[in-house]
């Protein structure tokens, strides 16, 4: 039986953060949320025949938006629909993202746990209340403490905490303090992201008005990045991807599936899927989604069938995100080809430039190469001839 992952998108938030450019909507009426979940359940059930008998579900990720913003029942029902529809492995990793000020009491957390969720990803982002307010987060640090404690009490033994750094004029010491608090919690997993501000976000506008030079912030950004890497590794968190750290055995299986180019099906607005070498995604409009599901039980907006060249490229660029890099054997097995021969020229000069390293089994970014991952990855992309 083949393994596959599921992603479920919950596109609702109490309030959108100022730096967020994900597909999510604030202030949506309860009636629409209700309709959305009905549609979501229908979309999932419609996949039953396609997956059953051939696939078992290895991981599930409920992301958003803010999945714990909507009433807990929706999530309970969601898990029930999934379990009724598919063959979910007993040891499946099932993650839900949660905001500290959403449904996050011990009682809420217990219900999520009972519904089958076994991993919580908490968006702390920063421990600096002033910064949190500035970037439009609706929680404060105290909210986070409560939420984390509630999750633990409810029995979650696999918790991730998200951090973001690289805001302009960010108080670096406050960030280092946050890293300290995170370590103190004893959480199993940390994601630490360097801010990448989309031009469509409100925060981008604010920063532009205040005359910040986006490029000039790199220096502070790399200092914070270095700090977080060092501090986490010193405390038993292994870096296994450019932005992800985990204690032994707690690396996120769901995300690793993305980086290893495994198959997954996304449900909900704007959700992406990858199956049979095709990438496809749903409409990002809720209205459109509701209508499409009603008519077709499917809301796919676009499909891209990847040719072998593109499959190779994706395997490489996603593989290089992992600290241990690309497994050469796996490449050779998938593509019936020899990685070291296919890219001998690129490997040679990227190694010479000290951006890439390999031991004939794996090829990975050097420490310096991690800061310039795009430059390295670009070398493995074929030139397009128009």
């Amino acid at each position: 039986m083949k393994k596959i992952s599921l992603y479920i998108h919950i596109p609702f938030c109490k309030k959108k953060c100022f730096y967020c450019d994900f597909v999510s909507y604030e202030g949506v009426e309860e009636m629409v949320i209700e309709k959305y979940f009905q549609a979501l359940y229908e979309e999932i059930r419609a996949y039953r025949t396609l997956l059953n008998g051939n696939y078992s579900i290895e991981t599930i990720f409920i992301g958003g938006g803010t999945p714990n913003y909507v009433d807990v029942e929706y999530i309970e029902k969601l898990m029930q629909v999934i379990n009724d529809s598919f063959d979910v492995q007993a040891d499946a990793e099932i993650t839900m993202e949660a905001n500290p000020n959403g449904h996050a009491t011990e009682e809420d957390m217990s219900r999520y746990k009972r519904a089958g969720i076994n991993r919580i990803s908490l968006g702390l982002q920063s421990a600096d209340d002033k910064l949190l307010a500035e970037i439009g987060r609706s929680h404060c640090f105290e909210d986070f403490r409560h939420a984390f404690a509630a999750a633990r009490s409810a029995g979650f033994d696999n918790i991730n905490i998200d951090l973001i750094f690289g805001f302009f004029e960010q108080d670096q010491q406050a960030f280092y303090d946050a890293v300290g608090y995170v370590i103190e919690t004893g959480c199993e997993h940390v994601s630490a992201y360097s801010l990448k501000l989309g031009e469509e976000t409100p925060l981008y506008e604010v920063y532009m008005e205040r005359g910040f030079d986006l490029d000039d912030e790199d220096w502070a950004d790399r200092q914070m990045h270095q700090y977080v890497c060092d501090a986490l590794q010193k405390n038993g968190y292994m870096q296994y991807e450019l932005s992800n750290f985990a204690k032994e055995g707690y690396a996120c299986k769901h995300n690793l599936n993305y980086w290893n180019i495994q198959e997954y099906i996304g449900f909900g607005v704007a959700a992406h899927s990858y199956k049979d070498h095709a990438r496809f995604f749903n409409t990002s409009s809720i209205e459109q989604y509701l209508e499409d599901i009603k008519i077709n039980a499917s809301a796919i907006e676009e499909i891209e069938q990847l040719d072998v060249q593109k499959q190779k490229e994706e395997f490489i660029i996603m593989g290089l995100r992992k600290i241990k890099g690309i497994e050469i054997d796996e490449y050779n097995r998938r593509f019936g080809s020899d990685f070291l021969a296919d890219y001998s020229k690129e490997i040679a000069y990227l190694t010479e430039a000290k951006l890439l390293e390999n031991d004939k089994k794996n090829v990975w970014l050097s420490e310096e190469g991690r800061d310039f991952a795009n430059i390295v990855m670009m070398e493995f992309i074929a030139e397009i001839n128009y």
Binding site: I317, M318, N374
Partner: protein, 601 residues
């Protein structure tokens, strides 16, 4: 003089750009029914796309119009078109030398412009009868009275009976034809004398070889005559003679006063130099016609294919352009930065621009052009003189005794309100003020002696922006003058970029070095290492800027929804990189080379 000769009129139309020369020519052709209306493309004489687009004539065209005049006679009016730009002054003067008269077209609202004056002087030098014509009288902004006054005051022409026309609308075209018949004298010349024919143009035809445009001054020429070019000394057997009448029209012979063509299996256009005199090999004329001179390029630049693999294509394209344009010089050169390309010589800036555009448009080539240079005279310590048109060839300072640069006399016509701004500009460009003349209350002519190397950078653009486009400029080479010149090098990451070196006056060198460094800083994207940009004279650094090192180029978050977008972004990034030039280990975009040519903001 034969009766036929009495009924020939040879004339040109002269005008400032945009004053309607080509439109008038079209109307004259149309009126006399010389070209089948079905084949008549608007502005027939300007037959290159680029010419039509820019409203200028580059290549000469000639046509015979047959006109039944009011006096009942039939006249042969040979209309010789002239190139309308300053760069082609010599070609204009030679085509005017083939005429007895000139129709001076003046825009009834714009009045006299710098090139109007320059062309009038050329016509006067050639003793032509000048017939002023006011064009665009249909425009609401037309002020015929004022402009007629201007023509009388500034040029000193009698404006009684001046045809008032609208070439666009076709108004009063006949008045122009009648004025040509009545006022332009018939050509002189004697059929019995030895042949003397002026070459005023030539072009290459792949089937017949060079087709030479001539004006017969004396004698006659026909098929099988053995002719000789008096300046180049080359001899040929005539294959065919004829006139320009709705294409080439074969004739038995060409006689005194005739304007027509001859072919003689001439393979090389350089053998038919404009201004040369054709005579018989056996029975030559005692002296050639006056006025022949060899034209030398005034401006040089390097032209390189963006894609090194296109070198042969570029070579072929230049060779083809050269077949019809002997004034374009080119020879192979190598640049450490740009690879294999050509050093090209041009008559002037417009000529250079036109060639670059034709390479890009007609030959579909992506090219990089280096900073243009004029021809400097370098007097070496051993007393010998060398000409330097490429900064790379400048000898070491220790071998140089002195240097000279070309000085032009610049004539700028402009509305009085901009005089201050333009004088400031000329002063800043090392201009020496010669004088100012009022054309009328609101318009003046400024005369300056200016180093040509100050004009070739971005003087036109600067002049235009300071006068909202109302100034017109003409210039001609006056002399060479001793000058304190230095070679300025630009270093990227401590390596000299030969394509960016240029020769500049010592006093301007600091400012220009600083500006270029600043400009390049803005054009070169940040890379994984810090990139010093330096301007240096000899070994001395006179300006420095730094492109800060990029600290990171990595996407922090990349999950299921980001994969294909990420791949597409990388494809785009790769495409951008492909368009860069690698200099040492620095990636430099093509735009950086162009930007240093436009320093005036």
């Amino acid at each position: 003089m034969s009766d036929r000769q009495q009924r020939i009129r040879n004339f040109s139309i002269i005008a400032h750009i945009d004053h309607g020369k080509s439109t008038l020519a079209d109307r004259l052709i149309e009126y006399t029914g010389s070209v089948d209306s079905r084949v008549m493309v608007s502005q027939l004489l300007d037959n290159m796309d680029l010419e039509r687009e820019r409203g200028i004539t580059i290549k000469l065209q000639t046509i015979r119009l047959i006109y039944h005049a009011d006096d009942g006679e039939e006249y042969y009016l040979n209309l010789i078109d002239t190139p309308g730009h300053v760069d082609f002054t010599y070609e204009v003067s030679r085509s005017l030398a083939a005429c007895e008269g000139a129709v001076l077209v003046v825009d009834a609202s714009q009045g006299i412009e710098a090139q109007t004056m320059a062309n009038v002087y050329l016509a006067l030098e050639n003793d032509l009868e000048i017939i002023p014509v006011l064009n665009k009288i249909d425009l609401p902004s037309a002020e015929p009275e004022r402009v007629l006054h201007e023509i009388e005051d500034v040029i000193g022409l009698d404006t009684t009976d001046t045809p008032m026309i609208s070439a666009k609308e076709g108004t009063n075209i006949k008045d122009v034809l009648e004025a040509v018949v009545r006022r332009v004298p018939p050509p002189k010349g004697d059929k019995q004398n030895p042949l003397k024919a002026l070459i005023f143009d030539s072009y290459y035809d792949s089937y017949r070889g060079v087709i030479v445009s001539i004006r017969v001054m004396d004698g006659q020429v026909k098929k099988d005559d053995r002719i000789k070019m008096m300046a180049t000394g080359k001899s040929f057997d005539v294959d065919e003679v004829g006139i320009f009448l709705n294409g080439l029209h074969k004739m038995e012979s060409l006689q005194p006063g005739d304007v027509g063509y001859l072919t003689a299996s001439i393979k090389n256009i350089g053998d038919t130099a404009v201004g040369d005199t054709i005579t018989f090999e056996k029975r030559p004329a005692d002296a050639p016609l006056a006025g022949y001179k060899k034209v030398n390029p005034m401006v040089y630049c390097g032209i390189y294919p963006v894609d090194g693999a296109k070198y042969e294509d570029l070579k072929e394209a230049l060779a083809k352009l050269n077949l019809n344009d002997a004034s374009l010089l080119y020879q192979p050169e190598t640049s450490a930065v740009l690879g294999f390309g050509f050093r090209c010589g041009f008559l002037g800036l417009l000529h250079m621009e036109i060639i670059q555009q034709r390479l890009e448009r007609e030959y579909n080539l992506d090219i990089v052009a280096t900073v243009p240079s004029v021809v400097y005279h370098v007097i070496l310590t051993d007393g010998t003189m060398m000409e330097v048109d490429n900064p790379t060839n400048m000898p070491p300072v220790t071998n140089i005794q002195s240097m000279e640069e070309p000085i032009v006399q610049a004539t700028i016509m402009l509305p009085t309100e901009y005089v201050g701004a333009v004088m400031e500009l000329c002063q800043a460009r090392r201009g020496v003020y010669l004088g100012m003349q009022y054309l009328e209350e609101t318009r003046v002519v400024l005369e300056y002696d200016m180093p040509l190397n100050e004009i070739i950078y971005d003087f036109f653009d600067a002049l235009k922006s300071r006068t909202k486009g109302y100034a017109s400029l003409d210039y001609e080479l006056k002399r060479y003058q001793k000058s304190e010149l230095v070679k300025l090098d630009i270093l990227l990451n401590l390596e000299i970029v030969d394509a960016l070196s240029f020769i500049v006056h010592k006093e301007k060198s600091y400012e220009r070095g600083r500006k270029i460094a600043e400009k390049l800083k803005g054009e070169i994207p940040r890379q994984m290492f810090e990139i010093p940009i330096q301007a240096a004279i000899g070994g001395k650094i006179i300006a420095r800027e730094t492109v800060k090192a990029m600290r990171k180029d990595v996407l922090s978050k990349c999950y299921g929804g980001d994969i294909s977008r990420k791949r597409k972004l990388l494809e785009k990034q790769k495409e951008g990189k492909k368009k860069m030039r690698q200099i040492g280990k620095v990636q430099v975009p093509q735009e950086a080379f162009l930007s240093v040519l436009k320093l005036d903001e």
